[in-house]
Each structure stands twice: as C-alpha cells, then as structure tokens.
Amino acid sequence: MATFGASATANINPNKSYEVTPSPADSISSLSFSPRADILVATSWDNQVRCWEISRSGASLASAPKASISHDQPVLCSAWKDDGTTVFSGGCDKQAKMWPLLSGGQPVTVAMHDAPIAAMAWIPGMNLLATGSWDKTLKYWDTRQPNPVHTQQLPDKCYTLSVKHPLMVVGTADRNLIVFNLQNPQTEFKRIQSPLKYQTRCVTAFPDQQGFLVGSIEGRVGVHHLDDSQQSKNFTFKCHRDGNEIYSVNSLNFHPVHGTFATAGSDGAFNFWDKDSKQRLKAMSRCNQPIPCSSFNHDGSIYAYAACYDWSKGAENHNPATAKSSIFLHLPQENEVKAKPRVGATGRK
C-alpha cells in the first residue's frame, strides 16, 4: 500500500522484510515458531490463532497460511510442544487450548485460570504445560487431566515466563522475578526483585541456563546470572530509546545457535546483541509501528517479528480504522547474529 510513495512504505517495512499474509485483523500478541519445522503461529487480539508454513529458498521466503483456530477472546500467548506437533494458546478467555495442528485435530481446552493467561510455556522434561496468569498463579497442566498438577502462588500478576529446562523464570507485576528449578517445581528457587527499576515486560532464559535476560518498559535490558559467583557478569544496558522517548522492550529472544540475542521494542526497532562481548551487533531500522513480539525459528535462520500497535501510547493512539498489523520475516545475516569478540579486549574473562 504505497499510497504516498516510497517513504510511506519504507516506514512500514524499512528493513525490507518479507511480509506474511494474510495479516491478522488486530494486533498480534505472540509469535512462535515450531521447534522442528518452519511453521509459524501467531496469536492475535482478533481472537484467532493462525499458522503458516514458511518455506525458504536461498534468500527468498514464501508463506502459506495453513489453518487457524479461534478463542472467545483475545489470545495473548502461545507455545509449541517440543515435538513440534501441537500448539498451545491462551488468552483473555482464561483458557488455554491445545491444538494438535500437525495432525489436523481440533483444539481442546486444557487449562483454566481465574483471569487472563498472560504467558505459557511447554516444559519438555516433564511433559507439562506451565501457564501464568493475571490471577497471580502459575499452574502446571498435564494435558490429559482437567485439573492442574500443581498450582504455584505468585507474588503478583504473571506477565511473562521463560523455560529452558530445568530453569524457569517468571516475571510478575511489581518487578518480581521468580526463578524455579523444575526439578523441584514446588519451591521457588530464588525470588529477586528485578535489576531494572521499572515494570518487567519480558524475560528469557539463557540457553545454557546460567541466567536470564529481563526487559522493562524503560528501554532497558538486564543480564542476570543465577550463580552468585557470576554476579560480576551481571549488567544492564539501555536500548530502544529515541531522543527523549524511552520505549518499552517487548521481546527478547536468543539465537538458537550463536547465543546472541535480539530485542524488539515499542519504538519499532529490533536489535541484535552479544552479551558476552557486551556489544550491539546490529541495529535494524525502525518500523513505524511498535514490535510487540518476535521469535527465531528453530535454527535461527529466520527472525519473525510483528509490527502492530501494542498499546504503548494508550487507547487514544489506536485507530481501528487505520491500524494495520503485519508479521514480517527477517533473514539474519551472519554479521548480525554471530557473536563477536570484544573490540579492543585482550581476551580477558
């Protein structure tokens, strides 16, 4: 829709990413790639969970919409089972549905909460689904049973969670971060207050389970190690800021291969960083809309991100008539995601 010519389109998709069509009618709340194949699932505020099969040949991508299911209310989060056959989705209807999409099955409700489910993850080592909700609980579900295997009380509403077996990190309101060792899930391993001074927006666990990243609404990401002996490696850094405006960091994803990570923010930009050398590897151009969610595919060759309104400027800035939601796929170049040795360092550490 290049109504005004180049500049307009450039802003919508300045990175010339491939757009996945058809785009959802309302904002996208989460994106998840299958852990086995290039199948992308997107959940949206229009109550739908859609999936596309992404195919790639060289530098070009193609997407084919495959199927979708609907919920009664906006869907907020999604998770894939580790064998790549089933997708879980949960949202404002306070339920989580299990959708065996590879086999073409129908979705089944497997979880219930008292308030919208804000985050969920599949725990491969235990074959359980963990769901975190605004009702201040975290529940573990064996999908074959209607009752949760365990209900864990949280200090406040759950906003985000991340699992890298056996590490699980839950971010709640009031800046609490609770770490669980899934080998002993009934006990909180550690509860800390976020190193960031503002509301927690997203967390993601390190691939090597040594710690986690936490992003806040104040354009800042904290790198936190769990082991006290590694506390010196903890640091935070600022990002997603533009002049006087400080945008929220909405999504953090580790590259599955290189150990580097990407951040996506309400400023419409996504950046790639290397936490070990403490550098930004690549700053991508800003889209004209915020990026509320993003995901790498299983081998890190595709980075999917959504450009749609995330409510960061309130309801006043939402115009349903002209709002557009897009899902883009970016092919990260090696220099964008490959870890780099620290510039000027003499290899210390």
Binding site: W45, Q73, P74, C92, A115, P116, A118, W134, Y159, P166, A173, N181, Q183, N184, T187, I192, Q193, S194, P195, K197, Y198, Q209, Q210, I217, G219, G222, L226, D227, D228, S229, Q230, Q231, S232, N234, F235, T236, F237, K238, C239, G243, N244, E245, I246, Y247, S248, S266, K278, Q279, R280, A283, P292, W311, S312, K313, A315, R342, V343, G344, A345, R348
Partner: protein, 388 residues
C-alpha cells in the same frame, strides 16, 4: 592494566564501613564521598569533624553520626583520614586474621602483631579460615587451600565484601580454588539441592578469601563488567558491593553471617542502594584499563538520557498495569465481562464519551455514557478512576 599485586597484607580498609581498597588514595576518595560528605550541599570535606563543623556553620544543623558508617564506628569524635587515626584495638581486630606483620605501608602497621591473639574478627567476611590465625604470619589464608568444604558451593558468597571493584568478585578467584562451581551450570546440577542454600555451603570462606587477597584478579579479569559500554547503568552491576556491608557484624560464626550475606546477595535491592555513585566512582578509579567508557563501539544508547535528563519520558509509564491489561479494559475486548474482574480490583470502563453528567442533592453522581450498558448512577463512595 595496572596490576597491583600486593599481597594482602597491604590492603587498606575504611574504618567506618570496613570496606577494603587496593590503595589508600582510593580509600580516601571513598571516605570523602561516603563519610565526609555534607548531606545538604554535597560538599566533600576532608575529615568527619570537618564535615560536622561545615554543616553546623553553614547549614546550622547538628550532625552526630558519620553517614554510611557501621554502628559503633559512626562517632564523629574520632579523627580518621585514610588509614590514619584508627584506634589500635579496632585495627588489631581487623588484622587479627591477617597475621601478617608488616603491613608495610601505612601506619597501622604497628598493631598487627600485638593484638593478634584475639581475633577473628572477621568483619569482613571471613575470609580467613578459622585457622590458626595469628602467629603464622603466612599468607596462607589466601586463596585456595583453606577451603573447608570441598563442597561445590555454588553459592559462593559472592561479593566479596568490599571492594570489589578492582576485584572481581569471585569470579576471578576461580582459578584456584573453587571448586569449580563456577563452571558448573548451576542449574542442572543442583546437587546442592536448592534447599541447601546458603548456610552450609556458603560458608566457604575460602572463596571469599580467595577473592580478597589477590589484588590481582582484580585487574585482570572480570572487571569488565562495569565499564563496558553496555552497562551504563551501574546500579545493577554493583551487586557485589552490597552484600558486604551488610554482613558481618562480626561475631562468631562465620557461617551465619555468610548466610546472611548470601541471602542479601541474592536480592538486588541492596545493590541498587549502593549508591550508584560509588560504583561509578569506583570504576572510574579502578584499574580498568581501557577506558571502556570510551569504548568504541556500537554499544548502546548514547542518546537519550545524557542529553536532557529532565525531559526524558517513558512512552509507557504505567507501573500498575501492563499494556495488555490496559487494552483489555477496552469495552471492545471485554465483551460480556463487566462483572468479572479482569485484572485489577476495580472494573474498568473505558469512557468513550461522557454524554453528560449530573448530580443530585444527595451527592450521587450520574454519568451517562455512550457505551453499552450505560451506567446510570454511581454510588457514593465508589472511586472512579478516569484514565486518559
């Protein structure tokens, strides 16, 4: 990088808060910034009494305690400057375990040998293995060996009290001692069993020891943290710093103290409280080589805050709820949910338009909205929050 390999004996430390430093100059800067600073106008004086007099004369206020000092060490009568003026008994207590005679530089020297007997003060963390303290005069406590427990702690009392800036908290230590928990992926391993936690393993003073002594490690590794472009923040970094002050009130059982330390160590807040100032300060003075700050690269955000700190604002600044919660309050999404609480205690109605609003003599407010299920009246006593 400036490697100060002085062996422990020459560690200087602050009488007021028991933090250790690599050299006296830094110690003095620390004292000026933390203990001799006027709390009203932030002027740095050169001694505690000078600060008291300044506050009295200029701000007409009486100061009775040295700021940021430990209880028992906060008297303004004692004239301390760097390592000078420290009462002999305190000095001895501090060095009790050190068992080194010649601290060489610095005045205190004389003390060490004498009092030794007593000790084990451990104000700092214990480091020193309980062993035989005095007499030995050999540095041995240092790294490595003492280990009393081979246990892989993984908890490692991290922060080694004090200083840390050059130091590297524990990290560096690893080389020798420690049991490698370092490498261990804390998580999966878990032998320790999460419950264990602090008390037992922790104790490990050894690690601690390891840390303090080596001035060495400091320079070299680890440091990095702070400077690097990335961090900017400082607050988080300190982490280590905090614990130390906390713990140790001396006293017996190292373990307990350690445990406490650990406990606190985990928590971030203490760190934050550690004055960002200090950290920044320390980094600046620390060895750190290559001014990271300068650091080339791409790092982050040079923009923003630095320019006009006052004018910076958060695009999403509602701490009480997340963007999704606010969005859910929109009637369009709420659908049939007026009665249930979506996320907060108060039902939210997003007002599109208030057609009009009247009140009756009894103080009842009527708001007429143009949304479905118009609310005709609102009871007295309820709170209406209008979020715009």
């Amino acid at each position: 990088m400036g490697k100060k390999k002085k062996r422990a004996s020459e560690k200087v430390w602050c009488y007021y808060c028991d933090r250790e430093f690599d050299d006296e100059k830094i110690l003095v800067q620390h004292q000026k910034a933390k203990h001799f600073k006027c709390h009203v106008c932030h002027k740095k004086l050169s001694t505690a009494s000078g600060m008291v007099i300044h506050v009295l004369q200029v701000h007409k206020e009486n100061v009775t305690k040295v700021p940021n000092a430990k209880t028992g060490r906060d008297s303004t009568d004692i004239e301390i400057y760097g390592m000078q003026g420290i009462p002999p008994d305190v000095l001895a207590a501090h060095y009790g375990e050190e068992e080194e005679e010649p601290p060489a530089k610095v005045a205190k020297v004389e003390i060490p040998s004498a009092p030794l007997g007593g000790v084990v003060p451990r104000p700092y963390g214990m480091v020193y293995p309980p062993q035989q303290v005095p007499g030995a005069a050999r540095p041995m406590y240092y790294p490595g060996p003492p280990m009393r427990h081979p246990a892989p702690v993984w908890q490692m009392p991290p922060p080694r009290p004090q200083q840390w800036y050059p130091q590297n908290p524990a990290l560096s230590v690893p080389p020798a001692a420690h049991l490698g928990y370092r490498p261990q992926p804390l998580f999966p391993v878990q032998n320790m069993g999460m419950t264990q936690p602090t008390s037992a393993p922790v104790v490990q003073p050894s690690p601690v020891t390891g840390v303090t002594p080596p001035g060495i490690p400091s320079s070299s590794p680890a440091m990095p943290v702070p400077q690097p472009l990335f961090p900017v923040v400082n607050n988080s970094i300190p982490s280590q710093a905090s614990p130390f002050s906390a713990p140790l009130p001396v006293g017996g059982a190292q373990q307990p103290s350690h445990a406490d330390a650990l406990g606190s160590a985990n928590a971030y807040p203490p760190n934050n409280s550690i004055p960002g100032g200090t950290n920044a300060h320390s980094y600046a003075s620390g060895p750190n080589t290559s001014g990271p700050s300068i650091g080339p690269p791409p790092v982050i955000a040079n923009k923003a805050p630095s320019n006009q700190p006052n004018e910076v604002y958060l695009v999403w600044d509602d701490e009480a709820m997340s963007m999704e919660e606010r969005r859910m309050a929109l009637p369009k999404y709420k659908v049939h949910d007026e009665t249930s609480q979506v996320s907060s205690d108060l039902p939210f109605l997003k007002l599109r338009r208030v057609c009009f609003c009247t009140s009756n003599p009894f103080g009842r407010l009527y708001l007429y909205f143009s949304i479905p299920d118009p609310i005709v009246s609102v009871l007295r006593g309820t709170t209406i929050l209008f979020s715009l």
